[in-house]
Symmetry: C2
Subunit: 344 residues, 2 copies
Amino acid sequence: MTVHDDVTTRPRNATLKDVAKLAGVSVATASKALNGKDNVHPDTRRRVVEAAERISFTPNQLARAILGKQTGTVGLLTHDLEGRFSIPILMGAEDAAGAGQMSVFLCDARGDSIREQYHLKALLSRRIDGLIVVGGQTDPRPSIGRSLPVPVVYAYAPSLDPADVSVVPDNTHGGMLAAQHLISTGRRRIAHISGDVEYLAARERANGVQRALADAGLPLAGGEVLYGSWSESWGRSAALTLLDRDPQIDAIVCGSDLIARGVLDSLRDRGVDVPRDVAVIGFDNWEVLVQGSRPALTSIDMNFEALGRRAAERLIEAIAGRETPGVETLDCRLVVRGSTSYGR
Amino acid sequence: MTVHDDVTTRPRNATLKDVAKLAGVSVATASKALNGKDNVHPDTRRRVVEAAERISFTPNQLARAILGKQTGTVGLLTHDLEGRFSIPILMGAEDAAGAGQMSVFLCDARGDSIREQYHLKALLSRRIDGLIVVGGQTDPRPSIGRSLPVPVVYAYAPSLDPADVSVVPDNTHGGMLAAQHLISTGRRRIAHISGDVEYLAARERANGVQRALADAGLPLAGGEVLYGSWSESWGRSAALTLLDRDPQIDAIVCGSDLIARGVLDSLRDRGVDVPRDVAVIGFDNWEVLVQGSRPALTSIDMNFEALGRRAAERLIEAIAGRETPGVETLDCRLVVRGSTSYGR
DNA sequence: CTGAAAGCGCTTACAG
DNA sequence: CTGAAAGCGCTTACAG
């Protein structure tokens, strides 16, 4: 038994009034019964619940939200054109809130601040409880503003305003992890090829690598970090440069998986065996790049899902009024595969 | 001048009442003035608009929606774990509705039908105007149900129920495009390596390839389609099989870019020049795989953004009451790069 | 334990 | 042209 509209065959949404009528009680009582409030006779509650099920009553959250309650919705404003970060971050956020508790408006501003403003306006008019802003790269970005009516958490790229809440991966730590892994597996002549030096992520990862080497009393092989672009072709040419400069290198940390793929190609072309002669490690742990390479690529994972979960947790705290400004940093994770390990 | 809450420093949302008071008119008049209704004195309208701007009034869409209007929100229920389809489809949908007109709830059900039900329930309680369901692969999927209170459009994977509205890429056409391109550039011994035969996409693409060959009076080189898995390693081994079976082949259509990457690797290992000796074409046009290969990979693009745009258009039509059931098929697009073309 | 009433923020006939 | 009133679907004091 569903309620039908007159003009179309599409069922109209049942209202609390429908439920109340069917159960023979007032709307007030029906409301209390369904929301598990005290002071409702068990029999009454049962009748109401049954009635609600009979007509598949779905409470109108909009009406509830208008009463000053929260809407149970948050905005996720992203600049990630490929969905590489957004989807895992979204999944983490879904999990943090609990299944089906929180619905997420995803908007892609595509790196355009005008579009960001449009989306922001639309989200606020829909009365989101809070907002997560996901950057397209890890460089700090302008704050979206202090005087929004809802709390904001910045994920992946921190806000430039220290009064904002940001959750970002610790790229320095990631670089250290990579180098430490190589050192602990016996490598001593470790080089680093990275992407565009304009990216903070590139510089931080390089810092991490160099710090780990310094801690172990090792020099950076190749003399300096080879910065270039985030591409396979750069990986290929940089690897050749490196081999010419220092044929003795026994490991290369790469600033991204794409770069690492290029490096693997060039090593193969030169007849250098991976991992026997040279170990290679990537960054991103991007499944599609990492699984199929020869050999499979050890990589550093930035834990996007955990990042999303944490961002959502921080947002939920802020919505509840417990806000602690500043940049929170999350550890990266080493995923070992054949490119650094004989056993596999 | 913003309206402030007592307990926190976060500004409270201004209401229409605030605007009316500031402009010295009634709420009714303020409403009409802001919504561009007739019968409002120009001076009054100006005063109201100014007042609204002064206190950055953002109309509460929830209140509007509760009056039986539409919410201007749609759900996008996806099963795409990597965001490979979802984000472009989302962007297409955003564009179709017009910037900032329509907000999209993105939910990832992760291939789990229980989670799908949870999300569906949450979306309906938030009174979405319509729903787009995005499959994880192109195989037809169970209908989410006929008696939803809102229209549904299936994208990428069609619904099994012919009464539903579906928009899918034409994989057969994609396969034909690939083979025709090779034929038109002079290839005559064309083979086809694809992924898991259990996937409809694999079989349809193969049908397209074979149809184009038949139309040109050419046999399928290698004797049969080589089905396997959607991986680089399968691409590598299948290419070797193929070369052993028929050393004369001059082109290979691959069922995915990942497979094509594996094929390119094996050809290179065997000293076969691409594109001179053998042309290779992929499927998906996945930037990250296609750009950096040696040579860059010609590929078939399924136009996810156009797919999302079309799905949103169909949804908007359905919301307006103009619904035409059935499966709509969208053409694929050939993107030529170095792996099939000398010039580049 | 139950229900009538007020109210959330808006829009829309309907009087004036 | 303007505003008082009713109402959307719900929740929450407040009487009974």
